[in-house]
Symmetry: C2
Subunit: 417 residues, 2 copies
């Protein structure tokens, strides 16, 4: 008989965590979640999950970047199989992003305990610090530090808009742990996550077998013109940083429509004009650009052309444009063995599945540096909308994803060296 | 001998008031001024000027919208001649906008006192509440209430971004006066102001004889799309409120370049995307548009076409666009008699002058409803930049403007009924 998780318990745990940091979203007319990394709400969410881990019999350790590991011992002293994700959120989140992977892992060890079943290898349920990157500007922060991509000191020194540092905020919420951040390579890492896009739902698939993660490039731009009186300054004498930002945004669209950059996605998410008042030409704008591309070559072309356009707009609009790279990852390919095993598990349960490239960044792509890594995607309703309170996957969709995750996890946990 | 003001005392008074609410502006690398209406800094600036008025022997009254009037009695109980402007500022201001008119009026009565000279009519030096409109969204607020365009209750109820009302903030800074807001018509109103544009300086003119003020139209827009994950949401499924705002900004430029709207000026000064984060498609944007036009017909055409474009962008971008008119004034023509008198005074002093349309709104345009009104413009350095800490007129330019203002004021103050 196939291993069975308790779908209802999983759902209830998603709802319980979703009540922490919740807010009423007037736009979406539903409850949303705001547990921005290392805020008090994130601290509360973290403590809640740690309590659940301990109640499930896991031994909890916290490392120096605040990553949390709940370990269940196996029959043999082999490298563990790790399952996890994150519990921090964007400011306008739903209940599923990240949480499904963490609580899914927790549900699996609870079900193992119910069955009084001990695996050969230890199982570690992990959640990583600041996967979203919204507050300190660098996403997958905890998993990147644990796997050596970002040095701990650099991560500690990152500041939010108020000048608060990662280190101080970790300490403030009580998650500045003592364990070494250099993670010993697990046997494998698996993560269940919502797709955060419309593809699986539109294709009627139950499970996405994630082949990899697209490349990500974030720019933070500072456009400096000259603030001036909106009524008296002739149009030809202006250096309007807001107009320059608008042209960059439209250029992103033109890049997409050109078809020259493959499956490029591009977004100007933040635009902060100063002084930002009705009757003053904006003298300064801080803006961000987010580029994604599954093809590393097409991504590099897009970046080069965009940077070239910065120069052109700077010249045309008489503004200075400076920018810094706040995130940059190449595309990542997940373990073919794990992809095969995920597809096989889905098929054995009679679930439909298809390969899919992840549109979002995930902790699994960081873990792929240390060990074979794989991801199971679950379809989402409402066109798979995410980073929005309307984010929603059904109890059945969640349970199917975690069941497939469990099958793969347990097969890995019985493997030899 | 011509009446002489003390140019050095005028300059020192500008510098003294400019130290209140000052801040270091990193962009301009100079000291700027921030005395946003009805903030503590505005209160401090107001108290400073009230003290100076009292020291100059003026009898100060404050009306229920916080307008301040310093009266110097004349030889006869006739309607006074009024001189004034405002002392509130935009958040990124220099030392001259508004202050030159108020402190210029104060300098004239000080010089009259030095000469022990009493005019036939009383002279009133006035400063009006919230001329800039940056905080509560409606400019020329105090003078509009005093002259009956805006009812007092409506003005009281205006709120800033934090929900604080004009009435409560007037009370908090101690300027909720008791005098009736309905101003008894003065004999005439004159105001000296910096041009806030490059025209006079470029033409080498000492004095601008203001023929009138261009029409002003402000829209506050709310663009509502759908916030979504920047990495996973296909471009064609987005409802990006930031992209819609960028298109509106570019449309403003296209309107200017079309040449179809005369001397139109158009500015998108504020853009506030929500949630405003690097990896989230903006679901909502609040933006403002400021239109100016010396021609009322061309202004109406521009407004109609712009509103038509709102609908088109809403449809194209799958966003909802709502807007409200936060300010709207037709163009205003100043008294021909006062224009002639200003030009004659300039010529008598050997100063060059030219007629000019004001690009900015001024309290004088409100006062023009009650009595003959006129304005003297003073050229500005740095292309006449204003609403910027680099705003600068020389001591000589200021003294010339106030000298011409004095000549006109004194001639009016000796007139019969």
């Amino acid at each position: 008989m196939a291993f069975a998780i308790d779908g209802r318990r999983l759902w209830e745990s998603l709802e319980a965590l979703g009540r922490i940091g919740r807010y009423r979203d007037d736009e979406a007319e539903v409850w949303g979640v705001c547990r921005l990394a290392l805020t008090a709400a994130d601290g509360e969410g973290r403590r809640h999950v740690v309590e659940q881990m301990k109640a499930a019999g896991l031994a909890v350790t916290i490392d120096r970047i605040g990553n949390v590991f709940g370990r269940r011992e196996g029959r043999e002293p082999l490298a563990p199989v790790m399952v996890g994700s994150h519990v921090d959120s964007v400011p306008t989140a739903g209940r599923f992003d990240g949480c499904l992977g963490v609580l899914g892992g927790l549900e699996i060890v609870r079900s193992l305990a119910d069955d009084q079943r001990v695996t050969r290898r230890p199982i570690v349920v992990a959640f990583f610090t600041d996967e979203e990157g919204c507050r300190f500007g660098t996403d997958m922060l905890g998993s990147a530090v644990a796997t050596g991509r970002i040095p701990l000191d650099r991560a500690y020194g990152l500041k939010d808009r108020d000048g608060l540092t990662v280190r101080d905020e970790l300490s403030r919420i009580g998650f500045l742990g003592e364990a070494d951040v250099a993670l010993a390579p697990p046997h494998a890492y698996v993560e269940c996550h919502i797709e955060q896009g419309p593809t699986l739902r539109a294709a009627g698939k139950d499970i996405g077998v994630v082949s990899g993660v697209q490349a990500i490039s974030w720019h933070e731009l500072t456009l400096t013109g000259r603030s001036a009186h909106a009524g008296t300054t002739p149009m030809e004498l202006r250096a309007d940083a807001g107009m320059a930002a608008a042209r960059l945004n439209l250029y992103l669209r033109a890049m997409i429509l050109s078809g020259r950059y493959g499956a490029l996605r591009a977004t100007m998410g933040a635009i902060v004009p100063r002084p930002g008042l009705v009757n003053i030409v904006p003298g300064k704008v801080i803006a961000t650009i987010d580029l994604r591309n599954p093809d590393d070559g097409a991504m590099r072309r897009a970046e080069q052309d965009l940077i070239g356009f910065y120069d052109r707009v700077a010249q045309d609009e008489h503004v200075k444009i400076t920018w810094r790279q706040t995130a940059r990852t190449d595309s990542v390919a997940f373990s073919p063995k794990l992809q095969e095993r995920i597809a096989a598990a889905a098929e054995a349960r009679g679930l439909s599945c298809s390969p899919i490239v992840s549109g979002a960044g995930h902790d699994a792509q960081e873990m792929a540096r240390l060990c074979p890594a794989g991801m199971v995607f679950v379809p989402g309703e409402n066109d798979g909308i995410s980073h929005n309170p309307r984010e929603y996957s059904t109890p059945e969709q969640c349970a199917r994803g975690v069941s497939v995750l469990a099958d793969v996890l347990l097969s890995l946990a019985e493997e030899e060296g």
